[in-house]
Each structure stands twice: as structure tokens, then as C-alpha cells.
Subunit: 348 residues, 4 copies
């Protein structure tokens, strides 16, 4: 009953087999091999357009390079108050951007409200050098709250970004989970909405280590080659990433894995909703379920081996829980078994 994080799971067998299959023989290094090219072409197919693809080692690196490529002096990036880039990356975006700042934007359940984003950006007029200058907007899809921006919500965020001539970045650490949730295509969820660059995560969804920064504006690709190398993110045996993505995309494995993870979360959510003592804090759109458990129930579950995190109560929900209740995050993954879900639910 491991619901702590999707990165506690290992890798799907197909990923490992692909690594085994490509281990023999020789291939040119530093992202120049035939397999690298093939996988980059696959990204172009998936996104239905030319893209520039940069493999990196972590989502933190993808996000930080994305924000850095848009940076200017005194730059200010905008993201949700609870976004991974602002809360959980040890200041990496600022480090990669030589001191750029991230300004938190409010909104319920991990999603920026477009009007609030607009108001925050307006606090940095370009003629006020003291304040600094807006540089980029970053949205997380799926969000840290397990929710997803609808296509219309992405449209609204993109409209604000474009009105201020700011590029729009999508942190897609759980890109596939969001895609399944919206039942849409990568193109529809990104550049057709106005997204300019994407951190495309494969690691949480069944890979060992497969992250990519995808740029739709090819004119910034040349610079990104140098930015990535300078950041120590250009792998010599780049095949070890492309072999993972090769298997990940083959036969739409990636969508199947995300579909499974989301389905397990839905099963978990249903079970909790139907339980006597527990309830959902809010609707689970993807593979993260936020549940309100009685303290004794949480203790009992943990005694039985369940692993899951306590979660800070969002500001707008403070006071809405009973004293004997706690908020918890439950994450499913490609590897989650229905048995474990049912076992968990049975104790709620």
C-alpha cells in the first residue's frame, strides 16, 4: 500500500528491456545517435509539429532551463503559489536564471486564476526598474493538487500571458496523467492553446530517468544546446534516455500507464467517498487523491503498512476540518495494484 509518491515505483519492464536491447554496439555520444534522432522525431509526431527536444536528468532541470531561457535582468516569473518550481526545487530556477524571482499567484486547488495572474503581472510595469520585469508564466499540468487545467483554463492563462508578451511554460511532470484526464492530444493541450515550452516528464510514469524539455519555438534551440551543456545536463550516453522514451512511446505505452494510474486513483477516490469515515478533500482529476482521514483511521492504515504523506491544508480550507481529521495525499502510479487500493479502502 505505497501511496507516497509515483517516484517510489521503479520502472516498467519495457523500459528496462529497451535499455538492455540498446546496451550492445556503439553509437555516437552527446545526443547525436540515430536513436536520439528517432526519438526526437517521435516527439514531433506526438506534438504534430516540429519541435526541439532536449533530454535532461530531472524535472527540476527541465523547469529551470525553461524558465532560464526566457529570463532577463531583474526577471520575474509567475506560477501558482504551490507550484513545484517555487516550492520544491531548492531555488533551482533562480540559480539557473542568475537570480530571477518567482512570484506566487493564487487560485484554488493548484490552479492560477487568470485574473489574478493578470493582476500580479501588472504589478511590474516596465517603466519601474526598481520592481523588475515580467519574463514568463509557468503552469503545472497536472497540478500539485492533482487537478488539471481544462483547455479553456489554459486558454485563459495563455491569453493573459500573450497580452503581456510573455512566453508560457508548462511543467508537465505528470503530462500523461493530465492528457488522459482531459482525453485530449498533446498538441491540443499545449501549443494550440498558446503554450511555448513544455517540461515533458516520463520518470513518474514508468521510466527510470527520462525527462525532456520541448521547445515549440525552434529559434531558441541553438542557445538551449549551450544552456543544457553548461548546466551539466548533456548526457554522454544519451541513448540511455532515448532508449527509455523509445519504449515509452511504442504502442502508446505511456498513455496506457497513465490511464492505469488515473484509474487506480479513481478507484481509490470512489472507495474513500463510499467509506464511512473518510472523504475526499477535493475531486481527483489524475493520479493524486487528497483525502481527509480521521486520525485514528490514518494511524490504523499506517499500522497495516500503508505509506502516504500528511499534506498542508490549503489556506482557503483552513478551519473546514474537524479536530480529529487530517489531510493526506495518496499517489498512484503505473505500478499500483487494484488489490492494494481495495485493501486501503477497506480500512477507511
Amino acid at each position: 500500500m505505497i501511496f507516497s509518491s509515483d517516484n517510489w515505483s521503479g520502472a516498467h519492464p519495457a523500459i528496462g528491456e529497451s535499455l538492455m536491447a540498446h546496451a550492445a554496439g556503439y553509437a555516437s555520444g552527446y545526443g547525436t545517435s540515430d536513436l536520439d534522432r528517432k526519438v526526437e522525431q517521435k516527439f514531433a509526431e506526438i506534438f504534430e509539429r516540429n519541435v526541439a527536444v532536449f533530454f535532461v536528468g530531472t524535472g527540476t532541470a527541465a523547469n529551470s532551463l525553461a524558465l532560464a531561457t526566457a529570463n532577463r535582468a531583474g526577471g520575474v516569473a509567475f506560477c501558482h503559489r504551490e507550484a513545484h518550481v517555487i516550492a520544491d526545487e531548492c531555488g533551482a530556477p533562480g540559480f539557473f536564471s542568475h537570480g530571477a524571482r518567482l512570484k506566487p499567484v493564487d487560485g484554488p486547488r493548484g490552479k492560477m486564476v487568470a485574473a489574478r495572474l493578470d493582476a500580479e503581472i501588472r504589478r511590474f510595469p516596465l517603466d519601474n526598474v526598481q520592481g523588475g520585469q515580467p519574463t514568463v508564466v509557468s503552469l503545472t499540468q497536472a497540478t500539485e493538487s492533482g487537478t488539471v487545467y481544462s483547455l479553456a483554463e489554459i486558454d485563459a492563462i495563455a491569453a493573459v500571458s500573450k497580452a503581456h508578451s510573455l512566453p508560457l511554460h508548462m511543467d508537465g511532470a505528470r503530462f500523461a496523467n493530465a492528457l488522459i484526464s482531459l482525453d485530449t492530444t498533446p498538441a491540443e493541450m499545449t501549443w494550440k492553446r498558446g503554450v511555448d515550452l513544455v517540461s515533458f516528464g516520463g520518470t513518474k510514469n514508468g521510466c527510470w530517468c527520462a525527462e525532456a524539455l520541448v521547445l515549440f519555438d525552434l529559434s531558441s534551440a541553438q542557445e538551449m544546446h549551450f544552456m543544457r551543456k553548461r548546466a551539466g545536463q548533456l548526457f554522454s550516453k544519451s541513448r540511455f534516455v532515448s532508449a527509455q522514451f523509445d519504449a515509452y512511446f511504442a504502442g502508446d505505452l505511456w498513455l496506457d500507464l497513465a490511464r492505469h494510474a488515473n484509474a487506480m486513483a479513481a478507484r481509490l477516490a470512489e472507495g474513500i467517498t463510499a467509506s464511512k469515515t473518510s472523504r475526499l478533500a477535493w475531486q481527483a482529476d489524475t493520479n493524486e487523491v487528497f483525502a481527509i482521514l480521521k486520525k485514528d483511521v490514518a494511524a490504523k492504515l499506517r499500522q497495516r503498512g500503508a505509506i502516504f504523506y500528511d499534506w498542508p491544508v490549503p489556506q482557503d480550507l483552513v478551519g473546514s476540518f474537524a479536530p480529529d481529521e487530517g489531510l493526506h495525499r495518496l499517489v498512484t502510479s503505473f505500478a499500483t495494484r487494484a488489490d492494494d487500493v481495495d485493501l486501503f479502502v477497506s480500512a477507511c
Copy 2:
């Protein structure tokens, strides 16, 4: 006949099998799993003392974090003129160190001469704020010229470093190859000589992606946790690195692989020396052979499928080659076959 670089090879089967073996089940992320602990303990055994081990994605990252941890304002690091850190990392050490500079030190065949190192350091007296301040010395073992510092040579470099109170870093991208060449132990080649931190490379020697920064001074480990995370180098599924190192160290596989690579280089060197038209530019200590080939011989070899790089002639050898001769680098690896070596030699 691939002699372009040891990173053109893939991974040893045992590495892939270990990844497969650890793919199932769950483990805590971000370097906190039992396997991570086990491998760190293995490092301690290998180095015969307590060490702090930080897995990272690339040698560039390991080197840059190493130099950054020693950095101060206006800092100047010292390395050989042809060292990887100064010539081939796109300025990453400077980026990680907020503008620290690398000063080239001369010496034949990739090795700093201790007296020259001392003279270069003395150019930065601490009372001259304009010049900046010395911060760290970095030596490459094995060097970019395929040579190794003898234990006495490391002693001499360490003595200069200590005389100026500077920590000593070893770029060990080819650590195992150097170890085999010197027939010594990791402890003897590093901290017993005065080395303070090591970039420990596994990738070139049969792993997919396994690099570690090893600190002998445990007091700097706490800060390095934040430095690594801030640099986007903390892997969520850290097991994918530790599983590689686990297999790498098991039964001394790593030493066997390096021994093989070095033996193949020796075989190549012998063949070239015995050939009618070709000769060695200098002695090959490890798995890199620098050969002087007639231009028509090089062309013939390439026609037959040999892949290898032209190499810039070191300053002190300029003018010592005939007009129809060229300098080339030939790199062997764990995967090099004797057949290919013999085929190459037969055409020299």
C-alpha cells in the same frame, strides 16, 4: 573499429540486469532508499574510510559541483591547460561557481608540473583584491592525454595545494583506468595522497549513467545536498544510479572492465609501435592511445570503417611531425574487441 570515445559504447550486461532486477517494487526516492545506502557503504569500503557520496548525472556536474563547493568570491581554480573542466564543459564550472575562473597550468602530456602550479598560484596573492583569490586545484586522473599521475606526482601536486591551503580535486572520469594502470588502491590514489574530493566516473567504464561526487571532508556534505538539488542533479528514482553502481562494484566488475580497456589499448599501442608506417605520439598509460599516422594510412583506416578523432598537436610537439603525418586519439573501452584492434593494427 570504433575508437572514437569510450562513451560510444553502451552498457555492460550486468548493469542492465541490475536495473531490471531493481525495477519492480517500491523504494523511497531522492537518494534515501536502502539500495542507495548500500551503495554508499560500498564506496566507503572501496575508499577505506567514511565518505559522503553524491550521485549526479554527468561528469560535468560532478566536476562543477566539486569546484563550486570550494569557491569563494573572485575565486580562481587551477587545472592543466587541456583539462576537461577548462576545455570541454562549456564553462559549466564557472556557471556553477558564479563566475569563478579556471587558470591553465602547463605541463607535458596532460599533467601539471608542480612547480608551475605553484608559480601560477603565487600570481594571486591574497592582498591583491584585483587579482582574485585561489580556491582549489583540480587534477585529472587519468588525464586527457591518456597518461596518469604517478603517486609521487600526486604527492607533489598535493604538497603545493596544501602549502597554499587549497583543497585538491581529482576528476576521475577514468578513475578505474588510472587505478589499474598504477596497480594501486582508491585510498592510495586519493586521500592518502591529499586529494579532498573526487569526481568518480562509472559511465565511460560500462555504466549507462553513473557518476558520483565523493567528499572526504564530511563537514561539507550538508551544503552539498542543497548544492546538488539546486543544480537539478538530485534524481527522484535514485535507484537507477545505485543499481548501476551496485553491479559495477560487485565482484570487482569495474576493475575487470578497466583492465580490459587498458589491455586493449596496450595491444593497440604495441601493434602501432610494431607497424611499418605508424608510431605512438607518447606512451599510453590507460585506455587512450595517441598515434601518429600517415595521412594515407588514416584515410585507408577510415575507409575500412575505423572511427577515431584527429587531435590537436600539443604546443611542445608542434613541428615534430612530418607533413604527411597526423595526430589521432584512439580510445578503447570495456566493449572493445581484440579482433577490432588487430584489424586496425593490420592496416597501419
Copy 3:
């Protein structure tokens, strides 16, 4: 009737005369002249202890170097939500600190509440590498709201800082104004309370350009020499700063100038309080008066030549003004004349 900012005034005649007096002859550069030494000694007298003094060109530089000297990887500094360092320095502290972040702490009238500071620091436990690590606390004295921390309030902030082993920085852009307001000594207002380093501003209080970073911990002085030079803040003709400070301190001119500025603010505040239509938004402790003016009154004043800024309404006062009222900041300086104050008040 210029009440826009104290930096709209020029320089006190004594400052210019001192520059004239030191213009002839020669003196060694880069902060090594006899006059530099004399002024540094004067700082020691003023603070009643040994100090390390670093002249710089701007308060932004002093603040940024102060925060940078305390920085570590993934560092987080803490300051009031409206502090100059977080709101008005174009991200300079982050730039000097390679990406360090500033976390806003709440509190009424520009002053951090100690308990809230403690709560914010606790959000960054050292075992959570994702969050980053606390590095320094910065308080502004006098604050951006024209208020001052009492000695007891500084004690409370210092106690929290020390409890978390964090150095405490004081942004003293209006140090003299605060000192006069508290009727205390520099030593009592700083290191005797637990302040570790001070941005000591002279520019707003009658100098042309005289700012200094004062360190009470002499062990960090050596590094600061390099940090300042690296930041392009070491003046070759350092005398041009020391000559200003020399006159500034002579005969306690600096205290007289601040006393005058504060007195003019008090006169302004009294006048506004006594007026029929206008009132104070809050008590003026120093040389900044925050007044609530009827819109037609503000327009009339501006028509008559008064210059002053509209000011954003603090969150806790939103809704407490009438629709026809506006919040304005009125700043006095060493150069403000009572006539102008009275003229202003007569129109309120």
C-alpha cells in the same frame, strides 16, 4: 513643496566642501588612503567596537552584499513583505546571491512580527532539501512605512534569528532617522541587540553618495573585500566617499540632519492631524509621513506645486478609507524648510 523622496534633495554644503578640501593632492586608491582609515576608525567609535567597513555606491549594493555574505545553496532570506530588498531592488539580492530567495514576512506598518518570522523560518526545515535552507534575516530600520522597530522589537527579531542560528542584517538606509527617533546609540540599536551587519546609509541624509556595509563579525571581512571588488563596488578614488563621511560625522552633523528631517516630518504630521480634511494613516516615527488626503485636497496641493507620491494601501487597511480619500507618502529631508511644510499644511 518637495515631499517625494529624501533622495530628491542634493547634498549638504559641508559634504561638498569636504570633497573640495580633499580634491587636491594625492592619496592611494582603492580604499587604502589615510582618510579611508580615519573614517573607518570613526565608524568604530560610533559603534563602540571594532568593525569592518566597506564603502559601496548604493544601498542596493550594501544590502545585496550583506545578504550574499550569508548565503548558502538554496538559500532563503527573510524580510518584511514590503522591505526595500524584496520590493524595490530589481532582484539585486538574488543576483548577488546566485539565486537566493527572499521570503516575505507579514506584520503591520512595515515591521515583521517575531512570531510570524519564526513560523516562516520553520517552513524550511534543514532535512527538506527540496525547500532550501534559511540563511539570514533582514530588518529595515527605519521601515518603508516610516516606522521604527523599538529596541524590544529588535530584541525579539534577534532572538528568533539566533534560535535558528541565522545572522541578522539591518537595512539602515535611514539609520540616522531611526536613531534620532529612538533616542539611542548606534551600538544599542545594532550589535547590542544581536544585529550582525548593517547597511549604513548616508545618501538620503545629506550626502551625495555615501553608503557603507558595516560588519561586526570581522572574520567575514576578508571575503567581503573580494565580494565587493567582484561586484564592481570598489571605488578607485575611495576618498570621494570617505571625504563625505568625514564631514557627515564631524560635529555630529549626521545626527543634526536627521533630527531636522524628523522634526519637519513631525511638524507635517501635526499640521495634518490638526487640519479639517486630512489625517494621518498611521503615526510617523521618522521622516516619512503617510497621510490620507481627500482627492480634491491632493489635487489642489499638486496644483500649487507640491510633489508627493500616491501609496498602495496596506492589505490590513483596505476598505478603511472613504471613496474620496487617497493614501500618500510625504518624505522630509535635511533640506526641507519649515515654510514648505507650513504651506503644505495650510492647504490640507
Copy 4:
């Protein structure tokens, strides 16, 4: 007999008087006052075209911002091996540029040889991400050796820069001295030759602290506003710089001051050439004389109160001095008196 450096002198009386004259009254801050505008307009007249002018506190800041504005990831700037930016600024250009590197270019007497510059740039082909990318060329006018690039030599350097699409920066810490030496105009010495941005120094030539970064490409001015502020280089009482420049330019004072300094250097050079024991190391083009003095002569001069620096012997002159000879730098300034020159010469 002070010949140590031109920054050992103070300020010309006209500079101080201008500061006195502008000390009273009020003016808007942060570079927005009428006087700031007037002086910027004066720069445009001097350069015979529209320019963007940014006052900063030091030449180090002007140079570092200039190189930073041209920077890209993994960037490499090119300058002479002995240039101030590479040798005497504590790594500031790298700090401002987040790790950009400076590559030394050789050439006798402080001047880059165009062909060598071209060769150095070619070592960084854009398809080699490991090496990094060329970003900017910086030449010093006058050089650290007291020489000046002729207009034809600037043409040659500019041609190489343009061939590689690199902007060309001129470090003009001694701009006026070079101008007088070449008997040309600011326009002819800069943008008409292909120079794109200039560090325009006034401090060494009679100001207290007056440095400006001049951009001929107005499209980069908007970004520079933020870069300057972020670097803590935007003065609140910007008038203190513009008042200096106002007097500096009035009646061509700046040219008269440089003419005097150069004339004093010529007088010194003539005297040394005519002396019995001493000689010039090379021709003095501006206000720096490099003299070879017998050791006992140097000692005697110092005993009589002369202050001047020993100077490192350039590599190409090593071995060309007698054992009892030493190389020394003698710098004159606007304040140097003929009496002192003659006194010095009389002892040579």
C-alpha cells in the same frame, strides 16, 4: 613625485565646484533629472549620434555590464592577455555574466593582433557545444601598456569581430588620453570603426567618480536599465555623476586634462630617453610611461619620495634586460606638475 596611478590624484576644482553648484534644490532621482538628460544629450553631441548612456560607479561595473549584455550560455569573450577586464577585476565580468569566460589574445604592448584574435575565436566553432560560444570582443583604449590602437588597428579588430558576428566593446578607462594621442574624434575612434559599446571613463582624468557605459545600439538600452539596477549601480542622487560630467565636458575641459597628462608623460619619456642610465621599455602613447631603470636609480628615486610601481616584464621582453635593471610603470595625470617630472628625470 607621485607616478603610481592616475587614480591617486583627486578631482579637478571644476568638478568639485559643479557638485557644489548642484547641491542645493531638488531634482528627481535615479537618473531622471533634467541635468541627467542634459548630460546624456552632451554625450550624443560628443559621439555625433544617438546613444544610450548609463552612469555607473566604477570602470569594473561598466566593463562587466558591457560584457554581460552580450553574453550567452557558455559564452567566451576575447580580450588582450593583459587587459584590465581579465587581469584586474577580480573576475567581475564572469560574475556579472554568470560564468562567462574571458579568453586571452596575444599581441605586443597590450594590443591584440587581429590575426591572433581570429585564430582564438575560430577555436570555438558553434557546432562544438563542449567548447562554448564566442560572444564579444573587448579592446582597451588606451591599453594597459600605455599604447593606443591606431584607427587602422581598430578597423582590423572590428573586421574580425564582425566576421564572427560579435559585438565590439571598448574599455575606455583612459578614453580621453587615447583620443588626444590619436588626434581624432570620439565618433571616429568608436562607432565609425565598428565599436558597439564603450566604457567611458572620467574618473582617472579628473573626476571624483564618473563612469558611463555608452551603447550605440539603442535596442539593448531597455534591458540595460534592468541590468544596471540589478547590479546595484543605479545611483539615487544621479546628479552627483551628471554634475561631474557636466563640468568635465564644459569648454572641452576633459580634452585639456588629458592633453596635459599626455604632455607630462611625453616630458617624462623625453627626460628618461635623454638620461644617462635609464631608458624607455617602449614608446609612450598616452599618460603611462614604461621605463627601464637601474635598480640603484629606482632606489634613489624612491628615497627622494617618488612613488611608482614595479611592472611584470612582458613575455616577449623576458631576458632583454640587464640583471641590474627593472621595469617600472610611471603614470601621469591631469594633476601632474612639470616640476615633479623634471625632478624625477634629474635623478635618472
